[in-house]
Amino acid sequence: MSETMAAITPKPREKNKTILDIKIETFFYGRLAALRKVHLEIPKNRITAFIGPSGCGKSTTLRCLNRMHPQNRTRLEGQILFDNQNLYGPTIDPRMVRVHIGMVFQQPNPFHISVFDNVAFGLRLNGFRGNIEERVENALKLAALWDDVKDRLKDPGTALSGGQQQRLCIARAIAVEPQVLLMDEPCSALDPISTGKIEELILELKKRFSIVIVTHNLGQATRVSDYLAYFFVERDKHSRFGRLQEYGPTQELVDHPKSESLRSYLAGKIG
């Protein structure tokens, strides 16, 4: 009953600014097309989740957003607009892209240096002139890690627990104050309790950052995200490639999947 009500009541469309306007026509890895037709707009200060079965190109798309793919072996046809600039324009320095669009990886990957130096790494790298201590403290507080590590800032970052290491990596990424935070399955190497903490943190972080998260965990995607992008593998005569199948507000997509493949994905029939 309530479900049908929700279905017929038109939801007020959220008016959001777009932070990333993605128009990937084709993305080549070597000579192989890995992605085709990925068009979507990432809204500002919202959480967008990329979901889909393995090999559907969600991580590949995520890595296009901060130009993490090796330049000499990949090629992107199309454009990604960030603040009215094409990230793949000829004059763009990928390093500057990565400063403004931060990334958190699947495997917690703190450097073998102290907790403090880990967070300060990006600041020092980019010649930050200002109060480093303050920025590090703020980043650690924002990552909900300050209380855990304030007495052990000199300990190596690798000595922390898995969940703490991942929050350290988040602190390290947000210390340079990027606009966008990309997260590539940030919880898949963590236990359920740490995962819960990271999810809370992600929800907290969206006030300050626009977040794109790739996840294998459908529950996580529906818990944290405002928008869902569902990717699917397609095959033609020669190859298989990833494609964006459906995109929209999370609730809408979960309640009313348009395509058969998303319906089976939501039902757990394909993973």
Binding site: Q107, F111, A173, V176
Partner: protein, 297 residues
């Protein structure tokens, strides 16, 4: 269908016999265990007997003053091998000074800048061949290039001969150390806006440093004991070293010379020098081990 259940014999006893001894299998297993044990003992017998020989002959005749005195003239008592000890330290120092920067930079090129490329494969293959180079050939090579052209034996030539032997060890061990740095650490650095050089200097090298150090120590330990390339290049002298353009005494050549003379005190001194040489190698290894463990914790 009244036939008895297949797992039970007619009288109801279990048909699965868990008490059966697998006699032949255990005999085979035990004899293999014994063989492995015996062969392991056989392998460490040479090592232990060498150490025992050096200790029993070398340590008993060792006097602390040997470390800073000159060798005695034939038939004279006392003296030491101070000049040889200093000579070996300088020779190995020059070898390390040349081979470590060159080797580490080559390894960085192989792993960070040209991984999988054709030039990387050629360089790696050359390093592997060089690591199998008979040490006397390194001596002959420097003899031809430096000693013949400058017309005198020198410490410099000796150090360079050692660096040829150390270079492949440093290249290959550093390359392995760098390859063992997980890829996700490099990615983390790149994702923060670092370029390749910043990533190598701030992340890859520091992470691999302990393992690189182990390789360098291995190279030093190998070079410290070399004799053949030194005879061709640094020769030897009974005096203290005055400049890098002169011949120098060295531990290994001193051992070679004194072990073959008919004077007992010199033979004893060769044993003592062997004892100190082994001690140097041991100490370098222990130091590198200590540093590596400290950085791991």
């Amino acid at each position: 269908m009244t036939s008895p259940s297949p797992t039970l014999s007619p009288n109801g006893a279990a048909r699965i016999d868990l008490t059966k001894k697998l006699r032949w299998r255990s005999i085979f297993s035990n004899s293999l265990d014994a063989t492995v044990g015996i062969l392991t003992c056989a392998a460490i017998v040479p090592l232990l007997s060498v150490i025992y020989m050096v200790l029993s002959h070398g340590a008993v005749h060792f006097r602390l003053s040997m470390l800073w005195q000159l060798p005695p003239a034939a038939g004279m008592e006392g003296g030491g091998f101070g000049n040889a000890l200093l000579g070996t330290l300088i020779l190995v120092g020059i070898g390390a000074l040349v081979s470590v920067p060159l080797g580490v930079l080559t390894a960085i090129f192989l792993t960070e800048y040209s991984r999988g490329s054709k030039s990387a494969r050629v360089i790696r293959f050359s390093a592997k061949i060089l690591s199998g180079l008979p040490s006397i050939l390194a001596g002959v090579f420097i003899f031809g290039v430096l000693v013949v052209t400058t017309k005198h034996f020198s410490v410099m030539a000796g150090g360079l001969a050692l660096s040829i032997l150390m270079l492949p060890i440093v290249i290959l061990s550093t390359e392995e150390a760098l390859l063992r740095v997980p890829h996700f650490l490099r990615e983390a650095s790149l994702a923060l806006g670092a370029n390749q050089t910043q990533t190598v200097l701030n992340v890859t090298l520091p992470t691999a440093a302990p393992a690189i150090l182990t390789g360098v120590m291995l190279a030093i330990a190998r070079a410290a004991g070399e004799t053949a390339p030194i005879i061709f290049t640094a020769l030897t002298t009974p005096y203290w070293i005055q400049s890098l353009n002169e011949p120098t005494a060295s531990m290994s050549v001193l051992i070679y010379n004194f072990a073959t003379v008919p004077y007992k005190n010199l033979i004893d001194m060769a044993w003592s020098a062997s004892f100190i040489l082994i001690l140097i190698v041991l100490v370098t290894n222990v130091i590198s081990h200590f540093v590596v463990n400290r950085s791991k914790s």
